[in-house]
């Protein structure tokens, strides 16, 4: 067994591809997908870790700490992708990502478990290998990465060896309407019934996953694996399953792990020919003699970088941004580690990468859907649990982030009305009406364009319903605020929008008779009498 792991060689180029793609995706994932989920941690003072026996000793997670770990984990992943401070970045990413995963069962996606395991294993790859000190390196940890991926495929195939999967009923329940049409067409082409086609697809997935487990383990078969295995993950995306970025992680991993070495070398040489010269030039300019040597210079660069990272991430509109900013500053100091180096040896490119990563996090997130969701979801939880003050503060933050699009103004106004602040509520309803009307105009333009499809009609219908709901609420709020708006006119306007919504949903069903979601929306409109309060 020892030789099986000891003798495993991996090329520095393969590791570089894995580093750039996997950690680049991870940084994006932590900042945009994970961060909005931070508010659920520790909500209501309740938590169950992945190892419940440890719960008595584990502190309760909080949104601020978990959010900070996601921010710093993302920064460390960004640095790892660029090859900056990899020795420190890998354990930091592993601690942030895997630490939070094992801290709470509120994060239960199986691919988060997989990524957690892989991050731990990657910490054991000799760090010189990430730097490209040698063209090839022996690494038992990389062998274990292949074994881990193979075991995952083997188990997921083994779990499908039961009647509930093989009779096609599980697949049948998972299919979207569009996907079902394709399965039917596939069956028709072969003269099979829909049930027969479902059974065939289910069995082939099970067999394919067993094959994937073998293909990953045996290097001469990697080329086959590279072309076969991604089909499963492409299928998952095609079927529109909500499993976040799992398929993309697998695309990246399979590409980096299975790409034949000769193709990798050829691609590498081609890229190096184009980019190598300018890259060397930039790195020489950044890291060469441009940094004046002196005892204090490395400390100055490290200190300034840490301060810049702190200042940038401190400005992020999340709860207790100072925690994440402080951790990021400590990480920056750790990466640049001036106390370990001779004067003038701090790499300027590393400092720039750290500042760029912090800046990217701030610029990318400050007005993003991710941070809007962070505050919106937190506000929703606080509202449901009766914390009106807290919910109002969160909704205000959410509305400030969602620059001009429909946001949570109506939800905020409802809370203000509950507190007797009718005038403030009316102002928020005004803002909601302005944004909803703009959204209707925009959706209308899309639905009237030559390339308009079923989805455009659906979006238009939903925009009309949202506006109608806001108008309905306006008829309560404006009189309460003592405003003289014509309530009857508001009601007439509302009825007009309900009619327009109905027409848009009918257009959706005409465009997509088999799967148009407008049918469900029409039923909801009928169920609500005329319009649903959302």
């Amino acid at each position: 067994m020892s030789a099986y792991f000891d003798a495993f060689e991996v090329s520095a180029r393969r590791l570089a591809v894995l580093r750039v793609l996997f950690f680049g995706l991870l940084a994006f994932d932590l900042w945009t997908t994970f961060l909005p989920h931070a508010p659920r941690f520790g909500a209501g003072g309740f938590n169950v870790s992945q190892v419940p026996a440890l719960d008595a000793w584990l502190p309760l997670p909080t949104p601020s700490v978990v959010g900070a770990l996601y921010i710093v984990g993302g920064l460390a992943a960004f640095c790892a992708a660029l090859g900056v401070g990899v020795r420190l970045a890998l354990p930091v990413v592993a601690a942030c990502y895997s630490g939070v995963y094992f801290w709470s069962q509120s994060d239960s996606y199986q691919h988060h478990y997989l990524v957690s395991l892989l991050l731990v294993l990657l910490c054991f790859v000799p760090h010189g290998a990430w730097r490209g000190d040698a063209t090839h390196v022996r690494s038992w940890a990389m062998r274990l990465v292949y074994v881990q991926v193979s075991l995952m495929y083997a188990w997921t195939a083994a779990t499908k060896c039961d009647a509930a999967w093989l009779d096609g009923s599980t697949m049948n329940s998972l299919l979207s309407c569009e996907a079902r049409l394709h399965v039917q067409a596939f069956g028709n082409a072969l003269g099979w019934s829909e049930a027969g086609a479902l059974r065939a697809v289910s069995a082939s997935i099970m067999l394919g996953e067993f094959a994937a487990a073998a293909l990953v383990l045996y290097a001469p078969w990697w080329t086959i694996g590279l072309f076969v295995i991604p089909f499963f993950h492409a299928g998952v995306e095609y079927l529109d399953f909500d499993i976040e970025l799992f398929s993309y992680y697998m695309f990246v991993l399979l590409f980096a792990l299975l790409l034949p070495q000769r193709w990798l070398d050829r691609g590498w040489d081609a890229v190096a020919q184009r980019l190598g010269g300018p890259r060397e030039h930039v790195l020489r300019a950044l890291n060469g003699d441009s940094v004046p040597p002196g005892v204090s210079t490395p400390w100055l660069i490290a200190g300034a970088t840490a301060l810049a990272a702190f200042a940038l991430l401190r400005a992020l509109p999340v709860d207790r941004a100072d925690i994440g900013a402080g951790l990021a500053a400590a990480f920056a100091l750790g990466v640049l580690a001036p106390w370990n180096r001779g004067a003038g040896s701090v790499r300027t490119s590393s400092a720039i990468a750290l500042i760029a990563g912090s800046g990217l996090c701030l610029a990318g997130l400050a007005r993003s859907e991710a941070l809007y969701d962070y505050h919106r979801q937190w506000g929703g939880y606080l509202r449901r649990s009766g914390d009106v003050e807290g919910a109002i503060a969160r909704y205000e933050s959410a509305n400030a982030i969602q620059h001009d699009a429909p946001a949570r103004h109506v939800a905020l106004a409802r809370l203000q009305l509950k507190r007797g602040e009718a005038a403030a509520a009316a102002l928020n309803v005004d803002e909601a009406l302005r944004r909803d009307e703009a959204a209707v105009s925009q959706a209308n333009a899309h639905a009237r364009s030559a390339s308009a499809g079923a989805q455009d009609h659906l979006e238009l219908g939903r925009a009309h319903v949202r506006l109608a709901d806001t108008l309905k609420f306006a008829t309560e709020v404006f009189p309460a605020a003592g405003r003289s708006d014509d309530v009857a006119a508001l009601q007439r306007k509302r009825e007009g929008h309900i009619g327009d919504a109905r027409s848009a949903f009918e257009a959706n069903v005409r465009s997509d008779p088999a799967c148009g979601a407008g049918r469900g929306e029409l039923a909801r409109l009928r169920g609500a009498g005329d319009g649903a309060d959302r």
Binding site: M1, S2, F5, R40, A43, G44, F46, V48, Q50, P52, D55, Q105, S106, S108, Q110, Y113, L121, W140, L144, V147, Q148, L151, M152, W155, T156, A158, T159, D162, A163, A164, W165, D167, G168, S169, T170, M171, N172, S173, L174, F241, Y381, R384, S385
Partner: protein
């Protein structure tokens, strides 16, 4: 060093074999966290979850969703046993703190049997209820007669 590394590898692979195996050999079909069971019928099986306070002999419905984040409510409704027990422990501790000497919380959880989801004979079994459903169509992941306050103390 080599010994340590070999121990690590053996432990890692051993865990990756043992954890999924423990799922298949164990009793809890509804906690698939480490089983690599993707797109499983368990996830599709619906459950009816009722937590009942029987402290004073009467049966009073407990509403965990009123105090928990919806993510925990979802895990409860999927019969995730560690979450049911953790909630029960918290509830029982609070009742004891409030002066109850022998709090009693029972989990009445009925789920569609994942192994028979495709079976036409089991269609609508959950709606029909345990009394009228065909045998084997429904399962109770936690014994409803069990007082969780005694189990988790």
């Amino acid at each position: 060093m080599t010994t340590l590394r070999n121990l690590f590898i053996v432990g890692w692979v051993g865990l990756q074999v043992a954890l999924p195996l423990s799922y298949y050999l164990g009793d809890d079909r509804f906690d698939e966290r480490f089983a690599w069971r993707m797109f499983s019928p368990v996830r599709l099986s619906e459950c009816r979850v009722k937590l009942v306070d029987r402290t004073d002999g009467a049966a009073t419905l407990v509403r965990p969703n009123a105090e928990l984040h919806e993510v925990w409510g979802n895990l409860l409704s999927r019969a995730r046993s560690p979450v049911v027990h953790a909630y029960a422990k918290r509830w029982c501790d609070r009742r004891r703190d409030a002066g109850a000497t022998a709090p009693a919380l029972h989990a009445e959880i009925t789920c569609e049997n994942p192994a028979r989801r495709g079976d036409a004979a089991c269609a609508g079994a959950l709606a029909a209820g345990a009394a009228s459903a065909q045998p084997g169509c429904l399962v109770e992941p936690i014994d409803p007669a069990q007082n969780l306050c005694e189990v988790d103390r």
